[in-house]
């Protein structure tokens, strides 16, 4: 019925979240928590986010919905209706965490804000994920993944200097907010278990982006007087670093320590006969090589062009130099290392039979991560949750459905 053997087995989470918050619930559900996804009657609009399996628009074909909602149970409910609010309160009594992504103040207006839920369940952790947080002059500003990434400093430092700023694929502002939200929910839960006191967790997507980009943030600017900006594929502080062309694709190289440079210079010399690259003026920490960056990039490209990506990757790593391929998604899908680890998992799909998903981000020896069920269909667990668990009669449930509450 519920859960697997995950570490959060026995914990219950209610999720009232759109696409910006679903990954938070997934993190907890795949660890064994009973995450009940509460969608508006008819289903959440995030079911309609492209692209779709076989390019077919439907309630259960959106890749992003299918991915971010694994292991959850799904019910429908309109919390704006009095009967809906009452049901939500009953569910909140047995919940450990509620995750929500409404605009600030929305739950308060429904009589379901933190102060109201605390009266129902003092141990409850309410985790709110919004663009800018529950307070401050911008709390009612509208947000998107791109807007949060821009304000959080990611765009300015991504891509080529001559291009406009650019964002990362895969809605990473949502990811950063959800990951922080999952972390904070667990910290608050541990505290609540010890003290009996829950709390309101206020996650701002702009702040979580500012935090994951902090290497380019305040410290660098105030201490070093360096304003980080777009610099192509290399990192400013690491010389050499960046993407280099091989005979059949790109490799990424990063040199951070003096002995890595030495190993690389010796290999270039062996392969190309280049004597200049052995010059001791290039030895030492990256700062010593900073002014020679372009020349060294030239030496490295001359060298990598002669070899295949695989040759540079594996021989480079044998020499303890951090060379890695610049992979396409196709290359990731057939990567032998991931295959040997059994990384990708198969998850049932109502129509497809099974779809392959990325697997566990971490491996717990005793309480394994697992996808225990595919993303729920619209209202799939209404009967199970409302009937069997809350004891609402079949007849009453039918009336609530006809009335548009569930």
């Amino acid at each position: 019925m519920v859960g697997g053997q995950g570490a959060l087995c026995g914990r219950r989470v209610l999720e009232l979240a759109d696409a910006s918050g679903a990954y938070c619930g997934k993190l907890m559900a795949d660890m064994g928590a009973d995450v009940i996804k509460i969608e508006p009657p008819g289903g959440d609009p995030s079911r309609r986010i492209p692209p779709f399996w076989r390019d077919a628009l439907g309630d259960d074909t959106s890749f992003s919905f299918l991915y971010a909602n694994t292991s959850k149970r799904g019910v429908t409910l309109d919390p704006a209706r009095p009967e809906g609010r009452e049901i939500l309160e009953r569910l909140a009594r047995s919940a450990d965490v509620v995750v929500e992504t409404f605009a600030p103040g929305h739950l308060d207006a429904l009589g379901l804000g933190y102060e109201a839920l605390r009266l129902v369940n003092p141990r409850l952790v309410l985790t709110s994920i919004t663009g800018f947080g529950q307070t401050g002059p911008h709390r009612d500003y509208r947000c998107s993944d791109l807007v949060a990434s821009a304000l959080g400093g990611a765009l300015y430092v991504t891509g080529e200097e001559s291009d406009p700023p650019v964002t990362l694929a895969g809605s990473q502002a949502h990811v950063s907010a959800c990951t922080f939200a999952a972390v904070s929910s667990l910290i608050a839960l541990l505290h609540a278990s010890r003290t009996g006191c829950g709390q309101h967790v206020d996650i701002s997507m702009q702040e979580t982006m500012t935090s994951v980009t902090h290497i380019c943030g305040a410290g660098k600017w105030l201490d070093d007087d360096i304003l980080p900006k777009r610099r192509g594929t290399g990192l400013f502080a690491s010389v050499p670093s960046g993407a280099y062309p091989c005979s059949d694709g790109l490799v990424y190289l990063m040199v951070n320590r003096p002995h890595h440079w030495k190993a690389l210079a010796e290999w270039i010399h062996e392969e190309t006969g280049n004597e200049e690259v052995l010059d001791p003026i290039f030895e030492g920490p990256s700062s010593r090589r900073q002014e020679h960056r372009e020349l060294l990039d030239l030496f490295i490209s001359e060298f990598t062009r002669r070899l295949t990506v695989d040759a540079v990757y594996h021989e480079g790593q044998r020499r303890h130099i951090a060379f890695t391929p610049v992979n396409t998604a196709a290359a990731v899908a057939r990567d032998p290392h991931l295959d040997a680890r059994g990384y990708f998992v198969s998850v049932d799909h109502p129509d497809a039979g099974a779809l392959r998903h990325p697997g566990a981000p971490y491996r717990h020896a005793r309480t394994p991560w697992a996808v225990v069920r595919p993303a729920p269909r619209v209202g799939e667990h209404n009967r199970e949750v409302y009937g069997a668990e809350l004891g609402i009669s079949e007849e009453r449930l039918r009336a609530l459905r006809d009335d548009g509450v569930v």
Binding site: S64, S144, G159, F180, L190, E207, T210, Y362
Partner: protein
Amino acid sequence: MSSDRAATGAEQALRGIRVAEFTAGMAGPWIGRIMATCGAEIIKIESQRHPSVVRLYVPPRTPELGIQPALSPWLTDWDAGKRFVALDLSRPGAVELARRIVSICDVVIENYSTGVMEKLGLGYEELARVRPELIFFSSSGYGDTGPCRRYVTWGPNIEALSGLATLSGFPERECTLTQFAYPDGLSALHGLFAVLCALDHRARTGEGQRITLSQLEATIGVLGPLMMEQLAHGREPRRLGNASLQAAPQGCYPCRGEDRWCAITVASDTEWERLCDVLQRPEWGEDPRFATLATRLEHAAELDAGIAAWTSARTPYEVMDTLQRGGIAAGVVQTAEDELHNDRQLAARGFFEEVEHLAKGRVVASGIPLGLTGTPSRTGRAGAGIGQDNDYVFGELLGMSPEEIRHAIEAGAIEPPDA
């Protein structure tokens, strides 16, 4: 926040949890850095013989000073609030002392190369003997099994390896990378979540366990829907730049000033109508080419040019505030300087923290946005040297006498603190 909850905030959320850290770089250390802000006690074990890259810091403004470990901004960002001891783990006596530290800890966090902890005699099996309920967390580039488990990687390598670099960016660019080593922060947050789950399990069952994390796998995981498209259809997802399949117009538009930009997202037909109002382009509102998301996506280039003409005449903050007043999502492409000095939202919420620093007095650091309103987090002392807390950890916590400590220093097991 009501006053009674503010009062319970005096007790921090992770008080009573103690962590031993064997880490370098960022992906491991940031976990302890965040736990420390919630009251956990983090003991970081270092060695003068193998300082982390974090301490190999040459100040760019004064390179003539050479390596200045305590001045490193990364030391604040990744290691503030911790306790530091210095052990030369190549000495047997030091390994024994490290085990004694672990025997009073709840969690071990390590991100040395795969196999190093075992070789030192500090693997999970051995440590679980001295502390059976221990949670032992390892983070590495590729995980602890598989043919590439010993390969060397840094954050940007993982951007390339995971597919993130080729999936992101403008269509005409083969790969696009960040300057912020995104997989490092991402892996730290996933690792922290994994550890917290294990702590919850332990609180309810008394059981500890071993956890391993592959930074590569955690990063592929946040590209889930894109990977699924490839796995299901055998087709490479399109690089979209700043565009979206579900919102148009959307992009990053040039503003007045050098390299100034504002991001804009129009996510619905209602917002599209608002945009036509704010930009005073009533003819757009009536144009059938722009009537639906599908047709706006098709004619995005023309819309983008029209919007850029409007934004170019304004500063990025004017663009953001004007559009937001009109109910449209817009945000300035901020620099580090903007975040600190021009962002009234971050300022009002006290995002940046003033932190006590042993070498610099006080410093301003990026906040840790946990949003714990009942048990606010706070960053402790920054800028500590290797071995700074030898006396506290070996003397107070482990109960060694000054004489025992002196002997361990003479034997080369404990290294004396930085002068």
